[in-house]
Structure formats: structure tokens, C-alpha cells
Subunit: 215 residues, 2 copies
């Protein structure tokens, strides 16, 4: 998308809007809070103080002309739902909205919001795996497919990946290796893992966690 | 870790605690809010109503005996900081804490908190890439290393990965392929990608986004 409206510039919406601009996408930011609008003035392409629950405000901003709109209003569920409802009725094609509870999310889906995001819950689940294990990072990409970042376990050090037979023995695939030079290298059959190397691995949840737990 | 204390069972802490239990880790949950404690009664190993800013409460709960503690208190920065300070003075070894702003996070780091998490900001940055592009998922694993989930672009369909020369032409690596059978297959030189297949790819930020944007 070349231009996006982000309504609600809180911790989630604000970070999203800023990252969009950083990546080269134009952003129209909208928030009711004057300080918030001021703090993003000059950071986002445009920032406007407005109440997204008012049809007149949305019309004035020409919001219907944007292909993608993000609603980052969380705690104020009523405002989130009212805004989503107005946007759908205005024919906005692609809406992303934050939800703070399952009920909130279900209502947004019922209204036709295409993508409902649960930032805190998703991060809570992700960090849970870091807290219980010894992984540097962990993300679920599908129901039983996760990618993890972990320090190389002793048993594969000094061998080629083919000799270590990682996939056969551990049921996971090492995808990238970062050595002392700090550069990520593709992991191939002839790649040798050294002590202290960082690995990116992919596999099923349990296998990946078990491999990452090896010392 | 076999047992973890989670203080602050909000959207982040609650999801984290629940995921820990689901993964087989014992959890002692602590929150000041009675309804929150009740809702997690029977879900977590133990849930107690207590104020984590009071030394006496932490002593009573035997919090110092746990190896890992998560502080999921966000909006109440004062309570978050007081709690972290008490935990550090009690000699707790591994502390994970949510921060809602950079300032908040810096103070927690100054106090010696090992892992500071910014759930909303991290998710905001991640979702920004989904909103601007056409990826199904996207996660940064290092400064210029990202993993993305995307639908196979037309130009590699019907060829083996070796023929498609994806790494040479696009500077990214296809790691996994999910076909119509809904099963994730390892991506090898002889793997053939079919129309509609979902791919897990890894590579530098720009290359990966550009590859994922191919129709
Ligand atoms: N009707 C509205 N129109 C425009 N902006 C709004 C409206 N209601 C709330 N906002 C803004 O949305 C932002 C986020 O909303 P809120 O603080 O309610 O949710 P939150 O879930 O706590 O957010 P986060 O955790 O992402 O900071 C705030 O900056 C707030 O000013
Ligand atoms: N001193 C305290 N002791 C124990 N629990 C606390 C304390 N202060 C706050 N909490 C609890 O921590 C939880 C999360 O805190 P809060 O709502 O302030 O942060 P938040 O960032 O809005 O959280 P989230 O977005 O994760 O729901 C709440 O359930 C709250 O009752």
C-alpha cells in the first residue's frame, strides 16, 4: 500500500504508524488526544486531531479514498466498534483493527473487519515460550510451525550439519547461522557450527523447543 | 523453567501465564484485581490476590524461591517499577517485565531487569509490514533478518526451487512450503511450488518484502 490511515496512535497504533513511515509508506494519523497528535507532527506524513466516531470527521479527512485503514483504538471498545462500523459503511476495503478481548474481536469480525489483531495476547503467548525455555526468540507461523532463535547446542558444534544430522535426529531444520563475524550465513549441508553461534531454526513446536533447550 | 510467577494478569500477563500452563510450566499468578484472580482460578496452577508493591506480600508468597518472574504491570508505571525494585533486592535471578514506553523500559533496565518487553510497540512494528505489503505474517529476528509467510508468486510456480533460482534471483531463501494438503514440507532443491502454495521465507528486510510483494 502506498498510503494508510492510522486511527488511534497509542502504543500500538503509534508504533505501527511510525514504522510505516520508516518503511516508505505515507501515513495519515488521526487521534483525539492533542499531545499525541503534536508528538507525531513531523514524524507522520500528516497528523490530525479528530474523533473517528464522527462521520463528518471521517468524510472531511477523505478517509474513504485510502485503501488501507488501521484502527488502533483499544481500551475504548465503543469507539473502536463505532469507528469500524462507520468505515465499513463508507466502503473502506481493507481494515485492520486492534481488539483487547475475544468478545471485542468477534464483534469487529462480525462487522466485517478483515484483520483483527490482539497485540498484548499475541506477545504474551510468544514471550511465554522465551520465559519457560532458553530461546532468544520464538514465533508461531502456523499451528504447529515455529521459528526460533537459539544458541548452538554442544552436540552439533564442530561438525557439518550433514554430519550432525539435525533434521533426522531432532526433527527441526537449521535455516541460518550467525558466527563470531556477526553475519547471518545460509545453513547448508556443509555448514559447520561453532561454539557460541546463534541459529535460526524451524520446526514443530515441541521439537523446536526441545532442540533449543539443549545446552 | 519449571515454575514461574506472573505478577499482573492483564491482557499481556494473563495470556503469558495461560500459555505457560498450556505448555506444561507451573504458574503462580498474582494480581490486585479480584475479578481477574477469580477468572484465572483453576486455569493457572495457583492465583493469589496480592499487591506486588508490598514486600510483605512478596515474602508471604515465597516469590524469592522462583527462578523466573514476569511483571506484566503496564499502565501503572509506578507499581511496575516498585515491584521490579523489590524483586531485584530479593535476589530474584531472572526477571521479565513489560514496559509501556522507552522511559519506563530504561528505568527497568537500570534496576537490573534482564528482559524488558514492549508488547504493543513490537506488534505495531510487525503489523505495519503486513499492512503495507501482502505478507500473511512477518517477524524480525535480527536487525536485517526477517521471516515472512506469503503466497507463492507466479514466477516460481511449476518449477523446482533449483530452476527458479530463488536465492540467486531474489536474495531470499524459501524454507518451508505448504501445499493443498495443508502440510508443511521442507523446501529443497527439487521441491516444486504450485499455485496457491504458502511459503515461509527468510532473508534481509527489503529483499523479503519485495519477494513477498510479487504477485
Ligand atoms: N474516537 C477516537 N478517535 C480518534 N482517536 C481515538 C479515539 N478514541 C481513542 N483514540 C485514541 O486511540 C489511542 C489508543 O487508544 P486507547 O488508549 O484507548 O487504547 P489502548 O489499547 O490502551 O492502546 P495502546 O495500548 O495501543 O496504547 C489513544 O491515543 C486515544 O487517544
Ligand atoms: N501492584 C500490583 N500488584 C499486582 N497486580 C497489579 C498491580 N498493579 C496492577 N496490577 C495488575 O496488573 C494488570 C495489568 O496492569 P495494567 O492494566 O496497569 O497494565 P496494561 O499495560 O494496561 O496491561 P495489559 O495491556 O497487558 O492488559 C492488571 O490486571 C492489574 O490489576
Amino acid at each position: 500500500a502506498t498510503s494508510v490511515v492510522v486511527i488511534g496512535l497509542g502504543r500500538f497504533g503509534g508504533a505501527l504508524a511510525t514504522e510505516l513511515v520508516r518503511s516508505g509508506t505515507e501515513v495519515l494519523g488521526v487521534d483525539t488526544n492533542e499531545d499525541t497528535v503534536q508528538s507525531l507532527n513531523g514524524v507522520l506524513t500528516h497528523v490530525v486531531r479528530a474523533d473517528s466516531t464522527r462521520q463528518a470527521a471521517l468524510d472531511q479527512l477523505g478517509v474513504a479514498d485510502f485503501d488501507r485503514i488501521v484502527v488502533g483504538i483499544g481500551s475504548d471498545i465503543q469507539a473502536s466498534i463505532l469507528t469500524a462500523s462507520l468505515l465499513k459503511r463508507m466502503g473502506v476495503r481493507s481494515i485492520w483493527a486492534k481488539a483487547i478481548s475475544e468478545q471485542h474481536g468477534l464483534i469487529l469480525e462480525q462487522l466485517g473487519v478483515d484483520h483483527v489483531i490482539y497485540p498484548e495476547a499475541d506477545m504474551g503467548r510468544r514471550v511465554a515460550h522465551l520465559v519457560r525455555g532458553s530461546m532468544l526468540d520464538y514465533v508461531e507461523f502456523d499451528r504447529d510451525l515455529v521459528v526460533a532463535k537459539t544458541i548452538a547446542p554442544r552436540e552439533i558444534i564442530g561438525k557439518t550439519l550433514e554430519e550432525a544430522a539435525v533434521r533426522r535426529k531432532h526433527g527441526i531444520t537449521i535455516v541460518k547461522i550467525k558466527g563470531a563475524d556477526g553475519v547471518w550465513h545460509a545453513a547448508g549441508a556443509a555448514s559447520v557450527v561453532n561454539e557460541g553461534d546463534t541459529l535460526i531454526v524451524i520446526g514443530p513446536v515441541e521439537r523446536t523447543e526441545r532442540f533449543a533447550a539443549l545446552r
